[in-house]
C-alpha cells in the first residue's frame, strides 16, 4: 500500500512535526502505537505493544530509552498531510533525548495519565517544550481506567499551561478512543515548518545511531534547501565531507527516498563507521555552495554519576574495554577511563547520566557481552581547591587529594517533587536530612503539591528516590536537573580491613553523614566477609581518625573430623574445589574477601529503574 507520506518533498505547509512528551509510563509509546495503526503504516497483524521500543532492554523493562521518529500520512477535511511524530523517553536520565526531539518539532503532545495527574517529569518536559517555543497540545490519557479523574486533572493541566480545562483532549491509548481527533488537532494547531527551499541546505542532526549492517545512520530534520542521495555533504562543525549513500524516511521501517525537503525528517547514510563523525547537534550542508551559518546546536549530555566497573574475572578486562567501546558508539553520554583498584584490579571509571543509565549499561554489558561485573558505589564529581590554589576534579573517591583543602564543591540540582499534600511533612523532613533547601511550593490542585528544592546530586543518587517512595507510599514523583555547584563540608570516609584501606569502599560524604556511612559499611562487611584464621578489625576512618569499628572474630574450626580410607579421594577433590574458590577471592592484605562480598557491600544502594 502506498500513501501520501511515502513520497518526499512534501510542501512544508502540509507537514506537521511533533513529539509526545510525558512523565514516565503515562502512555507515550502506547499512544504512538495507536497512531501507527490508525494512519495505516503498521498493519494490524504486524502490530505489537510499544512497537517503537525496539531494544531488548526497552521491551523487557517496558520503558523507552531512545526517542524514535516516524513519518505518518493523515487526512484532514480531505487534505493529505504528513506528520513526523517522535516518541520520547519519560525517565529523567534520558531528558537529553527529549531536548533533541524538541529541536526537530514545532509542537508537542503533552500526555498526562488521567489517573495520576501531573507528575514531576510532566513539568520538566513541559518547561523544556515551552523554552523551545513549541505549541503544546495537552492530552489526558488512560480515560478508560476506572480510577481516571479527567475533570480533576484537566483543571490541573489548564492551571499549569494557562488554557481552559475544556481544551484538554481526552484519549485512551489503549482503546484508541480520541486518537483520530488528537491527530486532527495536531494538524490544526501545530504550525507548519518554515524554511528557505532555495537556500543552501541546512539540516540538524538530532540522532546518530550505529548499525552493524548499515554503519552510522544519521537522523536529520531539514531546515533549508534539500538533501539528496549521491550528493557530497559537509559536517559544519568539523568541515569533514562525505558522500551520501542513502537518504530515507522512517515509517516505521527505513525506506530510501529521492531526498528530503524543507521541514522533512528522515535519515541519511554516508558509510562512516563512528557516530562521532556524525555528531548530534551538528549541521549538515552541501559540500559545494554550502551554508555559512550553522543552526544552533545542542549542549552535549554530560555524565552526572560515576562508578567503577570491574570484571569479576580479571582476564575479561580486554572484553570489557571492547564492549564499552561498542556501547559508546550509540551512547554519546557514556564515558570511560581505565583505572586500577588495589582491591578490584583493572577496570574502568565510567560516567553516566544517572542511576538508570548506569544500571542499564551494566545490564547490557553483562547480558549482551557475557561479562560478570562488579560496580562500585556511584558517586558524583567534586571540585577540590587546595590551600595552595591547585584544583582537583575528583571522579573517583580514591583520588581525593590529601593535604590542606581550602574549598570543596559538589554538584547541586534543582529538583521537583510532586505528591499528595498529606505527605508534605514527610517529604520536607526527608529533604532536610538530605541537605535540601526549599525553593518553593505550589498547589497543583486542592490535594496535590509541587515542592521545589535545591539539593546536592550526591544525596539524590544515594538512596533518595527509594526513601521518597517509601515515605509517600509510592505517590511522589521526582525530577531533577543540574543547577551548578555549591560549596560543601565533605569528607572522605575510608574503610580499613586489618588496617588497610580498601579503595573500592571509600566514599565522599557530608561530614554529618560520615558516621552513618562508616557504621553501616562496617556492619555490612562484618556480615559479608567470612571469618578468617585471624581476627580482622574493620574500621571506618576519616584520614587517621577512626569513626566506627567492628571485628570479624577468628574462625576456630576448619577441619573435617573423619578421614578413613574411602574419604581420601573425596577429600582431595574437595580441596581442589576449595582451591578454585580461593582463586575467586580478592586479597586485601592478608584478608580473603569473596567477590560476592564486594558485590553485596556495594550494591545495597541498588539503583532503581522506574521513577
Amino acid at each position: 500500500m502506498t500513501t501520501f507520506a511515502d513520497t518526499t518533498f512534501t510542501p512544508p505547509e502540509l507537514i506537521r512535526n511533533f513529539c509526545i512528551i510525558a512523565h514516565i509510563d503515562h502512555g507515550k509509546s502506547t499512544l504512538a502505537d495507536r497512531m501507527l495503526q490508525i494512519t495505516g503504516v503498521v498493519e494490524a497483524r504486524a502490530m505489537r505493544a510499544q512497537y517503537l521500543d525496539r531494544m531488548d532492554i526497552e521491551r523487557e523493562r517496558g520503558i523507552t530509552i531512545k526517542a524514535q521518529n516516524v513519518r505518518l500520512p493523515w487526512q484532514v477535511d480531505g487534505q493529505d498531510h504528513v506528520l513526523h511524530m517522535i516518541d520520547t523517553p519519560g525517565h529523567v536520565d534520558f531528558t537529553y533525548e527529549v531536548s533533541r526531539a524538541l529541536e526537530a518539532c514545532e509542537g508537542a503532545v503533552l500526555l498526562v495519565d488521567a489517573a495520576q495527574g501531573i507528575e514531576a517529569q510532566t513539568l520538566a518536559n513541559l518547561y523544556l517544550a515551552m523554552e523551545n517555543e513549541l505549541t503544546i497540545i495537552p492530552v489526558l490519557n488512560k480515560i478508560d481506567l476506572p480510577a481516571a479523574d479527567p475533570d480533576k486533572y484537566a483543571k490541573e493541566i489548564a492551571h499549569i499551561i494557562g488554557c481552559e480545562p475544556e481544551e484538554v483532549l481526552r484519549v485512551s491509548a489503549k482503546t484508541g478512543l480520541g486518537v483520530g481527533e488528537l491527530l486532527d488537532e495536531v494538524v490544526k494547531k501545530v504550525p507548519a515548518p518554515v524554511g528557505e527551499a532555495d537556500s543552501p541546505a541546512r539540516a540538524m542532526i538530532f540522532d546518530s545511531v550505529y548499525d552493524t549492517y548499515r554503519g552510522v545512520v544519521t537522523y536529520i530534520r531539514v531546515v533549508d534547501g534539500k538533501i539528496t542521495p549521491r550528493e557530497r555533504i559537509k559536517m559544519m562543525s568539523t568541515g569533514a565531507t562525505h558522500e551520501i549513500l542513502e537518504v530515507g524516511i522512517v515509517s516505521p521501517e527505513p525506506k530510501p527516498s529521492r531526498g528530503l525537503g524543507v521541514g522533512e525528517v528522515g535519515y541519511l547514510i554516508t558509510g562512516v563507521k563512528d557516530v562521532r563523525q556524525s555528531k548530534v547537534g551538528d549541521t549538515v550542508t552541501s559540500e559545494k555552495k554550502g551554508a555559512s551559518e550553522p543552526l544552533a546546536g545542542y549542549r552535549e549530555p554530560r555524565p552526572m554519576v560515576y562508578s567503577g566497573l570491574y570484571p569479576v574475572d580479571g582476564s575479561d578486562y580486554p572484553e570489557l574495554r571492547e564492549a564499552l567501546e561498542k556501547l559508546q558508539l550509540n551512547d554519546a553520554a557514556l564515558t570511560f577511563e581505565p583505572e586500577t583498584s588495589a582491591a578490584l584490579g583493572f577496570g574502568f571509571r565510567c560516567g553516566f547520566l544517572g542511576l538508570l543509565h548506569l544500571e542499564i549499561t551494566r545490564d547490557r554489558l553483562e547480558r549482551e557481552y557475557g561479562l560478570d561485573l562488579i560496580s562500585t558505589a556511584p558517586n558524583v564529581v567534586y571540585r577540590v581547591i587546595m590551600e595552595d590554589g591547585t584544583e582537583h576534579v575528583v571522579t573517583n573517591p580514591s583520588d581525593w587529594p590529601e593535604g590542606k583543602r581550602a574549598e570543596v564543591y559538589e554538584p547541586v540540582t534543582k529538583c521537583t517533587i510532586i505528591a499528595p499534600s498529606d505527605y508534605i511533612g514527610a517529604i520536607m523532613e526527608l529533604c532536610q536530612a538530605k541537605r535540601g533547601q526549599l525553593g518553593g511550593m505550589d498547589y497543583l490542585s486542592e490535594d496535590r503539591v509541587e515542592l521545589r528544592y535545591t539539593m546536592p546530586l550526591g544525596e539524590i543518587i544515594f538512596d533518595f528516590f527509594d526513601s521518597l517512595k517509601s515515605r509517600t507510599r509510592g505517590y511522589a514523583s521526582l525530577d531533577y536537573e543540574e543547577a551548578g555547584e555549591a560549596e560543601a563540608d565533605l569528607v572522605k570516609v575510608d574503610i580499613l580491613l586489618q588496617g588497610e584501606a580498601v579503595d573500592a569502599f571509600s566514599a565522599i560524604v557530608h561530614k554529618d553523614h560520615a558516621y552513618g556511612y562508616g557504621t553501616r559499611m562496617a556492619t555490612k562487611l562484618r556480615e559479608l566477609i567470612p571469618r578468617q584464621q585471624f581476627e580482622v578489625p574493620i574500621q571506618a576512618a576519616i584520614g587517621s581518625r577512626v569513626i566506627a569499628r567492628e571485628t570479624i572474630r577468628a574462625i576456630r574450626k576448619d577441619v573435617l573430623a573423619k578421614c578413613y580410607g574411602g574419604d581420601i579421594t573425596r577429600k582431595r577433590k574437595l580441596l581442589e574445589k576449595q582451591k578454585e574458590g580461593k582463586k575467586r577471592m580478592k586479597m586485601v592484605g592478608r584478608v580473603e574477601v569473596p567477590q560476592e562480598a564486594f558485590v553485596a557491600a556495594l550494591s545495597t544502594e541498588e539503583p532503581k529503574g522506574k521513577k
Binding site: R556, D558, V559, C563, T569
Partner: protein, 402 residues
C-alpha cells in the same frame, strides 16, 4: 542414604592393575579392609554404604555377601600375584557384629586362606554395643581378632535419641569391659560430639564414661551433617539447629583436655591412644599412603598410587563376582602431584607431622608464616599442628598447597 562414589575412570573388568602400581608391593605394609554393609536400622546422621534388611529384601544377604567376599579375595590374590600377608585387618561397617561371632570367624578364615596374616598382625572389628555380649567377644577372640572398636557416640540418652542410636547409655561401657574381660587388650570407643542438644555437661559425662571403661583408644568425631541424610533434612526443615563451629571447637578442646589428662595422647586429629602400641595401625596405614585392598560393596582400595572402589550395592557386588568380573566401579591413577597433595592433607593431620620436604618452596614459606600465626610447630624437619592448628587443619592444608 549412602553417599555417592567419586568420579573416576572406569576400572578394568578383570580387576587388573597397572604394572607400576605393583612394583614394591609387599615392601610396604599391606592392609585388608572388609566392608560389612548391613545395619539393623539406619542412623539419621550416617551416609555410610550400609543397608537394612528392609532395604535389601531378598536381593542380598550375609550369605551372598560372604560368597562374594570369598571370590573377591581370590581375585585380589591373583591380581596381586604372590599373596601378600596382611599386617592389618579391619572389618568395618555397617555393623559387623550383626554377623555374630560365627560370621566374623568365617570372614577371618577366608582371609587366612587367601592372603594369610603377617606375624603380630592387628585384626580389628567394629561392633555396635547392642549386638555384642561376653560370648560374642569370646568367640571373636578365639577366631583371632585382636582389637575391638565400639560405636558409643554418647552417654546421654537424649543425644543417643537424636542420633537414632538404639543402645542404652550404659551399654557401651559394659561392652568395653566385657571385651577386655574376654582378653582384648585393645579396645576403642567412638564418640560423636556437637549433636544438636548436647550440653557441655553431656559431653563431660560421656568423657567420664569413656575413662571409666578403661579403654586404650578413643576416636572422637565432630558431628558431620552429610548431604542426603535424615539429619540434614531435619536441620533444613528447621527441626534441629545446625551444629555451631564455635561450639564444636570448644567441645574438641574439652575432649582433648579430658583425654590428655587421663594419659591419652592425640596421634591423629580425631584419634587418641594411651601408647604407640594402642594406636590403630590399620588407620595409620591409610594416612601414610601404604597399600590396602578394601573388600566388599563400596570399599575403597589403594595399591601403589592407584585408588579404586567397588560398586555400592551388595546385590550388584555379589552378582558381578559370580559372573567372574571385578566388582570395581571406578578408579583413579594418581599423578605425582596428586600423591604429594594427598601426603600433605593426610600427614599434616598426624601428631608425627608432615616432613617439610614434601612441600614446595612456596609451601615451606607459607609453613613459616603458619608457625608465626601459631598454627604449626616446627619439629626437626617436620611441621606439626599446634593445639589451635588441629582445629584449623584444613585451612592450613589449603595454605601449604599451591
Amino acid at each position: 542414604m549412602p553417599s555417592a562414589l567419586p568420579e573416576g575412570e572406569p576400572a578394568p573388568a578383570d580387576g587388573s592393575l597397572p604394572a607400576s602400581s605393583l612394583s614394591g608391593l609387599g615392601s610396604r605394609p599391606f592392609g585388608i579392609y572388609v566392608h560389612v554393609p548391613f545395619c539393623a536400622t539406619r542412623c539419621g546422621y550416617c551416609d555410610f554404604n550400609t543397608y537394612t534388611p528392609g532395604e535389601l529384601g531378598s536381593s542380598a544377604s550375609p550369605e551372598s555377601w560372604l560368597e562374594g567376599l570369598r571370590r573377591e579375595l581370590d581375585l585380589a590374590a591373583s591380581v596381586l600375584g604372590t599373596p601378600v600377608p596382611a599386617s592389618t585387618v579391619f572389618v568395618g561397617g555397617g555393623t559387623p557384629s550383626l554377623l555374630g561371632a560365627a560370621g566374623l570367624t568365617d570372614v577371618l578364615d577366608a582371609i587366612y586362606q587367601s592372603f594369610g596374616l603377617a606375624p603380630g598382625a592387628e585384626v580389628t572389628t567394629e561392633s555396635n554395643p547392642e549386638s555384642t555380649s561376653p560370648e560374642f567377644f569370646a568367640g571373636i577372640r578365639d577366631a583371632g581378632y585382636t582389637r575391638v572398636s565400639l560405636g558409643m557416640q554418647s552417654a546421654a540418652r537424649h543425644v543417643l535419641a537424636v542420633l537414632d542410636r538404639k543402645h542404652t547409655p550404659g551399654r557401651p561401657v559394659d561392652a568395653a569391659r566385657e571385651a577386655r574381660a574376654a582378653g582384648f587388650e585393645h579396645v576403642n570407643l567412638d564418640l560423636i560430639y556437637g549433636t544438636p542438644g548436647e550440653r557441655p555437661s553431656d559431653l563431660a559425662a560421656s568423657l567420664d564414661a569413656v575413662l571409666e571403661a578403661g579403654v586404650d583408644h578413643v576416636s572422637a568425631y565432630a558431628l558431620i551433617v552429610e548431604d542426603g541424610t535424615g539429619l540434614a533434612r531435619r536441620i533444613r526443615r528447621g527441626d534441629l539447629p545446625m551444629p555451631d563451629d564455635d561450639v564444636l571447637a570448644s567441645s574438641y578442646e574439652m575432649v582433648d583436655s579430658a583425654l590428655s589428662g587421663a594419659g591419652f595422647s592425640w596421634y591423629e586429629v580425631s584419634n587418641w591412644a594411651t601408647s604407640v602400641e594402642a594406636q590403630c595401625r590399620h588407620n595409620v596405614l591409610y594416612w601414610k599412603g601404604a597399600d590396602w585392598w578394601g573388600f566388599g560393596p563400596g570399599a575403597h582400595s589403594h595399591v601403589g598410587g592407584v585408588r579404586f572402589w567397588n560398586v555400592k550395592h551388595p546385590a550388584r557386588y555379589s552378582s558381578l563376582l559370580a559372573e567372574g568380573h571385578s566388582p570395581a566401579a571406578g578408579r583413579e591413577v594418581l599423578s605425582e602431584e596428586d600423591r604429594r597433595v594427598e601426603r600433605v592433607l593426610l600427614e599434616l593431620r598426624l601428631a608425627e607431622g608432615l616432613p617439610l620436604d614434601v612441600l614446595d618452596e612456596a609451601g615451606r614459606e607459607e609453613a613459616k608464616r603458619a608457625v608465626a600465626d601459631g598454627l604449626l610447630e616446627p619439629l626437626d624437619d617436620r611441621c606439626v599442628l599446634t593445639d589451635r592448628g588441629r582445629l584449623l587443619a584444613d585451612a592450613v592444608v589449603r595454605r601449604l598447597l599451591p
